[in-house]
Symmetry: C2
Subunit: 387 residues, 2 copies
């Protein structure tokens, strides 16, 4: 007998969250076992207000376009569901006769997902609850990596190489670029690829190491003095040795996390004021998660498969699990999906391995880890040995 | 008899300046009439120091990579040549037996180019001097557009559409993006394509119209109140009604122009302080001129042909001219090159036509002008009518 399903997105979008949605919808349709496919408008907000849209009859042309559409085609939100919200959530699931609920998000969303699963069990409802991983920050536990990260890493790597070339070609300033990733250096570490793709000067600062500003400025001054320009890539979440963020927007998001930002601008001003060297601060910001021309084809394809697996797990009777990715880097890169208990990923923040940045430099292990996720075909540039 | 040529780059790089270099080198080699192909390291700086590199024997594989390499593969500078520098320039040309000199740049560089041509004529030297146009700011006179602009416009258009989708999917803030272009709105106007490619809310501010901050904030407040998020794209060169730039880095470049920047951050702070609405400021900055994944294929191909034409003009005996582009937008877009006197383009700034922004909105005439330059295949996005 056909059953209804509901999908919702939580937290910040990525370049490939819609690819997971595409995989989920396709698998549901192909199964022949699904009645209505609902999506919650703006994530948890839509569930609470019973504001759903039906995707069952969306034309295949629209479904296919999901693979090329960044952000979230069904909307998302940063609202963290509290105990007080759960009755409304249950109402929505019951009212629409939902038998499988899919929540696409990061740590916080997996926590929400886990709680909804427990509540369904407690109330004796026949609802399968499946988490779909998504975060550019790559901080979900157990899974080798999260969909969205590969594309954000590719963005960081290639855009850094391009900025490094610009800074080298016209070495009139120190270019400082700020990258996303909150308290984790996963994205900023990928920017270090710039000095592997080019022969340009680069310094990279990850949030895992607090900043000694005098030392940073001395390093910048020395490297810039070589006369071939300099790109400095910094994580938005950099902290001074007193624990204070270098850049802080003063905003606190719906999950209670303070929103970082302005780190590059801060450093750039220090370079000008204290070193008397011209400096530009660049902050592509959300472009780092929403840019499609820099998308990793591997990331997109995995996101699609993760979405398909989510449906397959539910359809096979699994519940209370998230789809995780197991990667095989021996020989040509390949990956497979496997289920992991939501309770094992909810609210656990996977840190960037400190041994990958031992001795002040990013180790080869990291590049071996990240390169296949960026999807191959990294650019080769003309090098006349001018710089 | 084989003759030597010299090429130099001036001013800020673009995504396609190296494509013009590629076209020039290929045409020179194919002619069979060129001895040595020299490039000045870091533009005028290299000429003054007689610091040249020889590209005649660069492997074809390197030459081909120029088409995929942003920034300048031979380096550039912002040094404006003065009268006092001309003896050293002439020395360099004579010493290396240069019979054709190619200078790739914008307004200021065309002025330099024009002066070198006059000096060569005065000294009775047999040197052809050809200008190759290049500027993302699109402010060169007579030519329909300048190589570099199409790619910068494509970057502005697509990255704005992507940010608009992100802002609409998670409508928790007003996203303000700053775009380059100094005092001309050519690039920022292209960002208005976002509301044609998507169904998202967007406001666009060009530097040709001074900003009434109260009015701007009221417009932002009203549009954000629709609940579907908001992208505001602003030119770095926006000015208040008192003529002061909203964002000003305080830097003055080598040509005496003050370097704008920080406009988006300024507006974003005003939105938070005065409207109590969360806001993010994004500033891709130099990525807007150096990003290759967003490159316009039409721009790249034209840049290549402009480089070829530059050599052909010199080889045919022309001098004191810049290669200009004549565009035909009737039917399928096509373009052809023609020579224009350097004196007609030197130091003349072509303004954004004010009739294209009459009535406070960007007119269709602008989009008809810019769309073919962006190189086609603009993205189509999934639209479930959520926003």
């Amino acid at each position: 007998m056909a059953y209804n399903i509901l999908v919702a997105h939580g937290g910040g979008p990525t370049a490939v969250i819609n690819s997971s949605l595409c995989g989920l919808i396709r698998a549901a349709k192909e199964s022949g076992q699904v009645g209505k496919i609902f999506a919650a408008r703006y994530g948890a907000e839509g569930i609470l207000k019973n504001d759903l849209i039906e995707l069952s009859n969306a034309p295949e042309k629209m479904i296919a376009l999901l693979m090329n559409t960044p952000a979230s085609a069904i909307g998302s939100c940063r609202r963290k569901l509290s105990e007080a919200d759960f009755p409304a959530v249950m109402d929505c699931l019951k009212k629409n006769d939902i038998r499988a609920f899919f929540y696409n998000g990061g740590n916080d969303s997996m926590d929400t997902c886990s709680k909804i699963n427990q509540l369904s069990l407690k109330e004796g409802l026949d609802i399968r609850v499946i988490g779909i991983p998504k975060t550019i920050d790559n901080d979900l536990n157990i899974t080798d990596h999260s969909p969205g990260y590969g594309s954000a890493a590719r963005y960081a790597a290639i855009s850094s190489a391009e900025l490094a070339l610009d800074a080298a070609a016209l070495p009139i300033h120190v270019v400082v670029m700020e990258l996303m990733g909150r308290n984790a250096g996963w994205i900023t570490a990928a920017s270090a690829m710039a000095s592997r793709l080019t022969n340009c000067n680069q310094l990279v600062y990850l949030p895992e190491v607090t900043v000694d500003m005098d030392k940073m400025l001395a390093d910048i001054e020395n490297m810039y003095a070589e006369g071939k320009g300099l790109l400095v890539t910094v994580s938005e979440g950099l902290r001074a040795q007193n624990g204070k963020m270098l850049g802080d927007t003063g905003i606190v998001d719906g999950f209670g996390h303070s929103v970082p930002g302005g780190t590059a601008a801060y450093i750039s001003k220090q370079v000008m004021a204290r070193l008397n060297i011209k400096s530009r601060a660049e902050k592509p910001g959300l472009l780092g998660r929403t840019s499609m021309p820099y998308i990793s084809p591997v990331d997109r394809e995995e996101a699609y498969r993760v979405g398909r697996s989510a449906f397959d797990y539910a359809n096979a009777g699994l519940s209370g699990v998230m789809v995780a990715i197991r990667a095989d880097r021996q020989g040509a890169y390949k990956s497979e999906m496997f289920p992991v208990k939501l309770s094992e990923v909810a609210n656990v923040e996977r840190k960037f391995p400190l041994e990958w940045i031992s001795g002040g430099r990013i180790q080869d292990e990291f590049f071996e880890y990240v390169t296949p996720l960026m999807g191959g075909n990294l650019p080769a540039y003309c090098d006349f040995k001018v710089f």
